[in-house]
Amino acid sequence: MSTEATGRPSIIGVDVSRVALYAALLAMVLFYLAPLESGLATAFKTPDGFRTTTPFALPPLGEFTVDAWGTAFDRLGSGLVNSALMAVPATVLSALFGSLAAYGLTNLDWRGQVGVLLLFVAGVFIPYQAVLVPLTQFWSFVDLAGRLPISAVDQYEGLINLSITHVAYGVPICTVLFRSYYATIDDEMLEAARLDGASAATIYRRIVLPLSVPIFAVTLIYQFTQIWNDLLFAIVLVSDPSNQVVTVALNQLQGSFVQQYNLQMAGAFVAALPTLVVYVLFGEQFAKGVAGET
């Protein structure tokens, strides 16, 4: 055994510890990707195919099909549209409100702001289950369609209720995220803007908001994933089948007698697709936001 100048044992110039490191990393990659691979493989199998092979094996010859994907798209199509109608406004609004609240709580000075901030922080920790009953009661009192006699409101009442609920539930965590970012903004710069004659609202619009792009990316991705993937509020608050969101529709792909694993797997991928798209779109900004760059 020869020892290199670095002191690490090596065999014919190959660093053993490095080999071990890569082996361990590869094992972890395989471990974490296995469920994904199994899902994908199953989604492309015929019912016979997934019954006769192990989940992670590739579809055997003659048992390959894309039928499950077609069915999944058919059955989840309206759910996807409904989810988008509900999640996009909810995501944008909760991020925007969170940003405004954080600006007010971080960069402006007023009495009692610590107390208000504590309320926001407490809001982050309220579990969904704890508010289910009061929440359903609340929405049964508030007759949105009755108050706003517009056909769109009537048609999408369930989705609007769900969307508003998600905004309200998302504002605290968004505020906390934005606050940590806004705390790094140079106070002297905001003071300079005040001396330049800008009002608090103008400072937000012309200085703070343009500087918030990275943290907006973080918040948008986070909130969109949360809201899109939510099942609990969607089941409880939306009763009208035409307002069914994709997570509820996906849940119903589960057959009562025969388990169609290929359809369920394809459906899961279809339902997850939009969140992946959002990551791709905002990924670069997301990385900056997490790194805390301004």
């Binding site: 140079d186 002297e188 710069m189 003071e191 300079a192 005040r194 001396l195 330049d196 200085i207 500087l211």
Partner: protein, 404 residues
């Protein structure tokens, strides 16, 4: 352009027993077009004072008036004041042009063309025309400083406030910008309040300096007045580099004494006599003398190992140094600065002094010398209050010849 008055301004942070008095009863009257430098050690309340004038801090008590109008209740936007910050505080997402335009857009009703013209001409004045379309991130520190200045100048405000604007620059750039700021201020004739902890900046730039310590105003005077006629021991020690030498003494008869050291006062001088009377017998007094006023006379062959104690007869004493004001001493550390040498001295009678001598004059460490403390160059401070009882006389301009 305006007259800026601070009338008994006070600032208290916090309430009750935890409160801190940051600025105590500060009154300064700044003339139209004057360049006033607020100087003091960190934490002396100078920045707080500036921020009160800007409207970024509330005023606990007293009044700030701009052109006779009380500013206390007005927001920073309504005061027509521009401020330059230490961190430059530029808007990073805007180009230099938009940084400079921002204030015009927010505080004036000028049309686009006029704003563009103002920005262009200000940029020309500051020689930053090439940088107008760059963002602050692509500029060097000195360039950012110019943009920050430009942002203030372009608004043509009644007054400029500058909070240590040069302290983030390197030494060479700082002295360049110092000269340039003076030129700009003289051209624009805008009332300026400039905060710094650097006494060199205060001395070189100010029309008048206001020296603060512990939230209290110590003296407002022209730089030379503050240097030669300091109001108290704090000002005397703060202004000037190296600082004034202080020897804590007590009054005994007609002399200031401490242990073995005794400095006979020239009671023939009326003001000295008055100071002595005011102090009274056995009172504490501090003797002060600037390093450059100390006369150094080298004794022949006076090396460290030489036990020969030089007397005044060993070297000729310049006319104004009385024999009783000459003391034997040993040279300690010598710091050559080029134009002058900073010489640390230990008097045989105890006190340690710092003197400066001409840079070409060779002073060796360990040498025995005679130190002259001319009576017309000394300051006497009340030990208790620190108040100056006697300042150096300025009539005898012949002092310069004493620097051998």
């Amino acid at each position: 352009m305006a007259r800026l008055q601070l009338d008994s301004v006070k600032k208290r942070f916090g309430e009750g027993t935890d409160s801190v008095l940051a600025v105590d009863d500060l009154s300064v009257d700044i003339d139209d077009g004057e360049f006033l430098v607020l100087v003091g050690p960190s934490g002396c309340g100078k920045s707080t004072t500036l921020r009160m004038v800007a409207g970024l801090e509330t005023i606990t008590d007293g009044e700030v008036r701009l052109d006779g109008e009380v500013m206390n209740e007005r927001g920073p936007a309504e005061r027509d004041i521009a401020m330059v910050f230490q961190s430059y505080a530029l808007y990073p997402h805007m180009t230099v042009r938009n940084n400079m335009r921002f204030g015009l857009e927010e505080s004036t009703d000028l049309d686009d063309e006029t704003m563009d013209d103002r920005v262009e001409s200000t940029a020309e004045l500051l020689e930053i025309t090439d940088l107008l379309d760059r963002k602050p991130g692509a500029l060097s520190g000195g360039q950012r400083q110019r943009v920050a200045l430009g942002r203030a100048i372009v608004r043509e405000p009644k007054a400029f406030l500058m909070d240590e604007p040069l302290s983030n620059l390197d030494a060479k750039l700082r002295s360049q910008m110092r000269t340039e700021l003076q030129r700009l201020q003289a051209d624009l004739e805008t009332t300026t309040v400039y905060v710094t902890h650097d006494q060199t900046e205060a001395m070189t730039m100010a029309d008048r300096v206001a020296i603060l310590d512990g939230g209290e105003l110590q003296q407002v005077a022209t730089p030379l007045e503050a240097y030669h006629r300091p109001a108290n021991r704090f000002v005397a020690g703060f202004i000037g580099e190296p600082s004034m030498n202080f020897v804590d003494c007590s009054v005994a008869g007609e002399a200031l004494v401490t242990d073995e050291f005794a400095y006979p006062l020239d009671t023939a001088n009326d003001s000295v006599d008055a100071a002595l009377t005011a102090l009274g017998e056995a009172a504490g007094a501090t003797l002060g003398i600037r390093p450059e006023d100390i006369v150094l006379i080298e004794a022949d062959g006076g090396d460290a190992d030489d036990t020969h104690r030089p007397t005044v007869t060993d070297g000729p004493l310049p006319g104004e140094v009385d024999a009783s004001h000459a003391f034997a001493a040993t040279v300690g550390v010598v710091e050559p600065m080029g134009d002058e040498n900073v010489v640390h001295l230990t008097l045989d009678d105890g006190p340690e002094l710092v003197a400066t001598v001409d840079g070409l004059r060779h002073v060796r460490e360990g040498r025995r010398v005679t130190v002259g403390l001319p009576s017309n160059a000394i300051h006497v401070f009340d030990a208790e209050s620190g108040e100056a009882m006697q300042n150096r006389s300025l009539e005898t301009a012949a002092l310069d010849t004493a620097r051998v």
